[in-house]
């Protein structure tokens, strides 16, 4: 087929309600996920305008961003966290929205629970007031991170006024070496294409490396699309996708499931689909990767030296990164000391992430003076991990084992860096101040690399543990 269509085209077209007077598309939103942080003013605006929630059965709520991950008795010690949680509880009650609160076994980070419950499905549009909503693209859904006023629009109309994106196909061919994970793949894609490279594009990830990935790995890749500037990232649904969804709470069952699979297959990009751009890279070129700067595009392979600012298209940006981080071009990333290790976040807090970190930590000890946290992405991930004893591996090694939430990824709860601390983190952003201290420093890496760094008190090559 010379003029095949992409998944993006198919899903966009099937969800188009109207072309608005502005030229924007009014796009139907199949699933809306909300949490305690970006929604309170949206509900206030609904009340002010006397509007109801149009499709309350298509919005699901949880608490993740602000919740403590240690002591969870109510009221929370942080009165603002308590207030925002109460506001959400009141809003979901008043508007009849399903809510997975702290006492629910379905509670967790929005981008972990949507897929885990089978709410996220191929061929769907999805929105959430959180930029990492692109995670759900792993299922072949078009998933948009939105602002609060857009949350209001989705609540009031189940639609958004949107501009159509172009589609860039990103092929990751070949295979990954041992010790190289999905996190390393996406960090390298962002390094290659830049943090603004995806502006105006949806990213379609494919190629042998992506095809072989399990759903959790695909979620890690799609999760950080926004760090590359792409509002949307997705992987075409395949047998791996369908197998993952089978039997999940909100997935169709029996004959309905068979009909669903036929539909899901039909939304995948056609073999001859045309793309606005195509980029290819080889998975075997990727090493364990660590960020050294203040945006996720500033990363190096573990064997590399820190680059010279002059080599960047934006030398001033690189200089600012060095100024904040306090190290010098030409020095190795290997051996960089750390103070804190964090395994968690919507990028890397799923069961396979915890297994990868536990495999490194097993029978070993966290280096003295290092604060190390493992924060599962959901109550279910926590329960499954405990069932296979991962919590014991972590606690015996000296990691703290916490309850589910966003935690130190954005430090809206008590889990924060102090002063100039350096954190080896499996999260998604190394922005200045991101982990709760204006002077704090973040090194992004895979969960296995975080565990290895925790054991050594410095950045090491995780492959040393895997031979």
């Amino acid at each position: 087929m010379a003029n095949g269509r992409t998944l993006y085209d198919k899903v966009w077209d099937s969800h188009t309600v109207d072309i608005l007077s502005t030229g924007q598309t009014q796009l139907f939103v199949g699933l809306h996920l909300i949490h305690e942080i970006t929604t309170a003013p949206a509900f206030d605006m609904l009340r002010e305008q006397g509007l109801d929630v149009a499709f309350p059965q298509r919005t699901f709520a949880t608490v993740d961003h602000i919740v403590p991950t240690d002591i969870r008795t109510r009221p929370f010690l942080d009165s603002q966290a308590e207030e925002l949680t109460q506001v959400l509880e009141k809003n979901v009650g008043e508007f009849g929205i399903d809510f997975f609160g702290l006492d629910s076994d379905k509670q967790g980070i929005v981008h972990v629970i949507g897929p885990q419950l089978g709410l996220t499905q191929p061929g769907m549009t999805l929105a959430c007031g959180d930029s990492h909503t692109s995670t759900h693209g792993a299922f072949g859904a078009l998933a948009f991170g939105i602002g609060t006023s857009q949350v209001r629009d989705v609540l009031a109309t189940q639609t958004l006024a949107m501009d159509r994106l172009k589609v860039r196909r990103i092929n990751v061919d070949g295979s990954l070496a041992q010790g190289v994970y999905a996190k390393d793949v996406i960090l390298n894609i962002i390094r290659k294409l830049g943090v603004a490279g995806g502006k105006g594009f949806a990213y379609e990830y494919g190629g042998a490396v992506i095809d072989r990935m399990n759903m959790e790995e695909r979620m890690t890749v799609c999760n950080m699309s926004i760090e590359g500037g792409a509002l949307v990232g997705y992987v075409n649904p395949d047998a791996t996708t369908f197998e993952f969804l089978k039997g999940r709470t909100y997935a169709p069952k029996g004959a309905d499931f068979e009909r669903a699979v036929a539909y899901w297959k039909s939304v995948a990009s056609d073999a001859g689909a045309s793309y606005d751009d195509v980029v290819s890279m080889n998975g075997s070129d990727i090493e364990p990767t660590v960020t050294w700067g203040i945006n996720p595009g500033q990363s190096v392979g573990i064997s590399e030296k820190l680059p010279r600012p002059e080599g960047f298209s934006d030398p001033e940006g690189a200089k600012k990164a060095y100024e904040h981080m306090g190290w010098k071009p030409g020095s190795p990333i290997l051996g960089t000391p750390i103070d804190v290790a964090f395994v968690g976040s919507c990028t890397n807090s799923r069961l396979s992430d915890l297994r990868a970190a536990a495999a490194i930590a097993k029978g070993r000890k966290v280096h003295s003076g290092i604060r190390a946290l493992v924060v599962p992405g959901s109550a279910e991930v926590k329960a499954l991990a405990e069932k296979e004893g991962l919590h014991n591996i972590f606690t015996q090694a000296g990691f703290e084992w916490r309850a589910a939430g966003c935690s130190m990824c954005l430090a809206m709860n008590p889990d924060k860096l102090q002063g100039r601390e350096i954190c080896a983190s499996s999260s998604n952003r190394n922005f200045i101040g991101r982990q709760g201290s204006p002077g704090g420093r973040t090194l992004l890496m895979s969960p296995a690399m975080v565990a290895a760094a925790a054991l050594n008190g410095k950045v090491v090559d995780v492959r040393e543990y895997l031979q």
């Binding site: 109207d18 003013p41 509007l51 602000i66 959180d130 926004i226 499931f257 934006d314 101040g433």
Partner: protein
């Protein structure tokens, strides 16, 4: 267009939402890839309303641990009262927090001129009726230089003609997505009413999407 003074900053009056022209002085904030965590640190997202956001833009860059002022263009008396923010590339990358444009808007910024904007931030600006328009690298350097040498330079951003006029008779073209330009000029940037008017069409689409009915045969 009318402005109404609230407790903090100004908010556009409801009567006429059409945005045709923004005028005033400008303030430059230099640097590429300025993320929304820098524009507003996450701890201020713990407030249940946007009411006080005007106190917080670039907080950690403007105030030290003791709350004392640090050197920053938004603290600089020369730029006080500026209504146009001048920025470089990929401004507003990162988190989707609408608190970022809310903070700038309530601080007094009513238009942003820059080299480029991150996708979600640009979308949020449209939703708030804040024009975010693009000019080239050389052009933004010229505008920033001019503002620094003469902070009283007056700017007029005309949305319809996509033109930024400044100083004594100078002007340059600006780029803005056509859909955003129309939304501002029509006043439909506050999109709920426009979307809500189509609710029967929305229900028709919902009825034919197979997942909305659970794939029942």
């Amino acid at each position: 267009m009318g402005w109404r003074k609230l407790d903090q900053g100004y908010i556009r009056m409801n009567e006429d939402r059409r945005i045709k022209r923004i005028f005033g002085t400008a303030v430059p904030v230099r640097g590429n890839d300025i993320d929304t965590d820098r524009i507003i640190p996450a701890r201020y997202l713990k407030e249940a309303t946007f009411a006080r956001m005007g106190e917080y833009p670039f907080y950690d860059e403007r105030f030290d641990d003791a709350g004392k002022l640090k050197p920053h263009p938004l603290n600089d008396a020369r730029f006080k009262g500026a209504s146009i923010l001048l920025v470089n590339k990929n401004f507003g990358c990162g988190s989707s927090r609408e608190h970022a444009p809310q903070a700038l808007h309530r601080f007094g910024i009513h238009a942003i001129v820059g080299e480029s904007f991150a996708a979600i931030f640009a979308g949020n600006c449209v939703m708030l009726g804040i024009p975010a328009v693009a000019v080239g690298e050389r052009e933004i350097e010229e505008l920033m230089g001019l503002t620094v040498s003469d902070p009283q330079t007056q700017f007029v951003l005309d949305i319809d003609s996509k033109k930024l006029s400044y100083g004594a008779g100078k002007s340059m073209p600006v780029a803005i997505p056509e859909t955003s330009r129309k939304a501002l000029l029509e006043g439909s940037w506050d999109s709920t009413a426009m979307l809500h008017a189509n609710l029967s069409k929305v229900k028709n689409i919902a009825a034919i999407l197979p997942y909305m009915t659970g794939f029942k045969g």
